[in-house]
Amino acid sequence: MRTLKTLLVVWLGLTALLLSHVPAAFAHGERAQMPQLRMRAVHWIDVQVSTAKLGVNDIVKISGKFMPSEYWPHHVNSIEDTAYLNIGVPGPSFVRLDSRVNGVPMIRSTSFRRGELYDFEIVLKARRPGRYHVHTVINVEGTGPIIGPGTWVEVTGDPAAFENTATTLLGQTIDLENYGFGNVKWWSALWFAMGLAWFVYWLTKCPIAIPRFKRASELGPDADQMITPMDRRMGGIFLALTLTLIAGGYVYAQEKWPITTPLQTGKIDVPPLEQPTSPVSVRLIEARYRIPGRSFRLELEVSNKGDSPVNVGEFAAGNLRFINARILNVQPRDEHDLVAPDALRVEGAPVAPGETRRVVLYADDAMWETERMTTMIASPDAVVAGLLFFFDGRGRRYMVEFGGPMIPDFGMVKT
């Protein structure tokens, strides 16, 4: 009875162990990341998702722009070293048919320059029905995934209808869902049968454990007497069979797939977009985060060298967007779109052409709290960064990044 229990415990332990090796799934990691890293890593701009509902085999395109921050933290590896444009979905619920930055295919890894602007487009084909929060992601080597905005996308239809084919350079059309697997199964089964046969040969000598242990201990250095001529013959047969199968399999594969290439890797270069010179420049005077009011107060010095008065329409930081409703009408796409349509109050604007003046922004919203941005006061490097969108009288938009130290306000000191 006790042995049965032991067996059961071992079996349960083993099952748990086997089940623990699950490839890392992806789910809403955005809030877990340090707020400073979120604010100072990548600014995502004008991210569009072509459809929120589609069927299996249908295409969804995610496009927009991004800008690596000038204020990229020094204590983590830079996006200027090695980076990869990726997509955050739970497992391969979609397949990626294409992904490009400034027109360059992003099959390989690359690097992006801080402060430069990049256009991206990712083309996905729906594979499994479900409702997915699809994020843009840039993986940075040594730093981890930098997660962009997410959108809910619903896939309907029959998963069995999914098709994914490719044509090799040898002209053969293959089904990527099962290509080569019949072959893998056959060879794996053959080798498994060989190994099992060898094991079974020794099992036929049952009982083996205790009698052989006793025999081997008795014989000591002469224990080799336990090996019978039949054993040796079997050893010879299995060795010859194994070596023949390895050689035969290799020759068979060389005959059947004479043309192969090594796995492809390496980095590719992406030239940044030309950026028009902006007539608006910004200097951060002070950034204060008032914890009791969940209110971010920015004091800026804004210079306008253009020919039309400018005002602030949007303040974006860490994937949160605070909109000045008097300038801009932006509504959240779904319940998790991090847009606060009327959360930006601007004092001291518009800034007239040729003028330099103090502008104060208040970005007040519970999002600071719900998106766990408030933990920024726990950072050892209390520097923030964000993107400001200025609009002039003729509807032209100018993007300006600012950054600098942040001082928390605990509501204890009257200012």
Binding site: G13, E177, T242, T260
Partner: protein, 262 residues
């Protein structure tokens, strides 16, 4: 208190001896068979557990994904990590039971565990197609070691030939399974292998392209000869590796607590 050492009256001693003599052969056989029925499944499960954990830790992604099985790292890392259990348990099973099963049985158990895990976790749960996450086969390597041990009855020669073959043959043994995945395809003006294409299309958010440790080393300058050079290098390294793990098995068998159990 040692009961068996207590002197019994002469009549009683005689009686017990006759009883034991009459029933022992059949009863002992039955007891031994029952011991086998208990010990062998336990050992199989133990090997499955220990080996899959060990292999996941040391080889991991190289065995999980078909686009990690390169010519340079996978055939080098794999035999070095794979030899540990065949060495340790090969020594114990041979020395204590004269069974040439240490290498093939441990690898057989690993293979079974790997297929279960890939099918349940990678295919059913995480939804990757099986042809992207199948486990490589190594059973042939185990058979070579065990058969050589049986034929030479020497750890030295088994290490020299078997250990070498174990490192050398990882790539040729798997080539009939792997070759179709290294056929070239074109995607948006870039040449890829089928394996690379699957790695690109079947999205892994946590495993971006650059984390693959493949094809990196100065050996790349040898061009075509990378595969055989790596194989021979892995073979030589693995001779020492196999001997080392045999020695660890030997140390284990000398451990006092094991002697106390058996």
């Amino acid at each position: 208190m040692k009961v068996d050492k207590m002197p019994l009256p002469p009549a009683q001693t005689e009686l017990r001896a006759t009883e034991v003599g009459l029933t022992s052969a059949a009863e002992q056989h039955r007891a031994y068979v029952q011991a086998d029925l208990l010990i062998i499944p336990l050992i199989v499960m133990l090997f499955m557990g220990i080996f899959s954990f060990h292999f996941a830790l040391l080889v991991g992604d190289w065995d999980y994904w078909v686009d990690w099985r390169d010519r340079r790292w996978w055939p080098l890392v794999t035999p070095l990590a794979l030899t540990v259990l065949p060495g340790v348990f090969g020594y114990l099973l041979w020395e204590k039971l004269r069974l040439p099963l240490g290498a093939s049985l441990t690898i057989l158990c690993l293979t079974l565990a790997a297929w279960i895990s890939r099918y349940l976790n990678f295919h059913l749960f995480a939804d990757f197609p099986m042809n992207f996450v199948w486990p490589s086969t190594y059973i042939g390597l185990g058979l070579i070691i065990d058969c050589l041990l049986l034929l030479t009855r020497s750890f030295f020669w088994t290490g020299l030939f078997g250990g070498f073959a174990f490192g050398l043959l990882v790539y040729p043994l798997n080539w009939p399974l792997l070759a179709p995945f290294q056929v070239p395809v074109e995607l948006h003006g870039t040449m890829l292998t089928v394996a690379d294409l699957m790695g690109y299309e079947y999205i892994r958010t946590a495993i971006p392209e650059y984390v693959r440790i493949i094809e990196e080393s100065t050996l790349r300058t040898f061009g075509e000869a990378v595969t055989p050079l790596t194989a021979v290098f892995a073979g030589f390294l693995n001779i020492m590796n196999y001997w080392f793990w045999l020695w660890i098995g030997y140390l284990g068998s000398k451990a006092i607590w094991i002697r106390k159990i058996v």
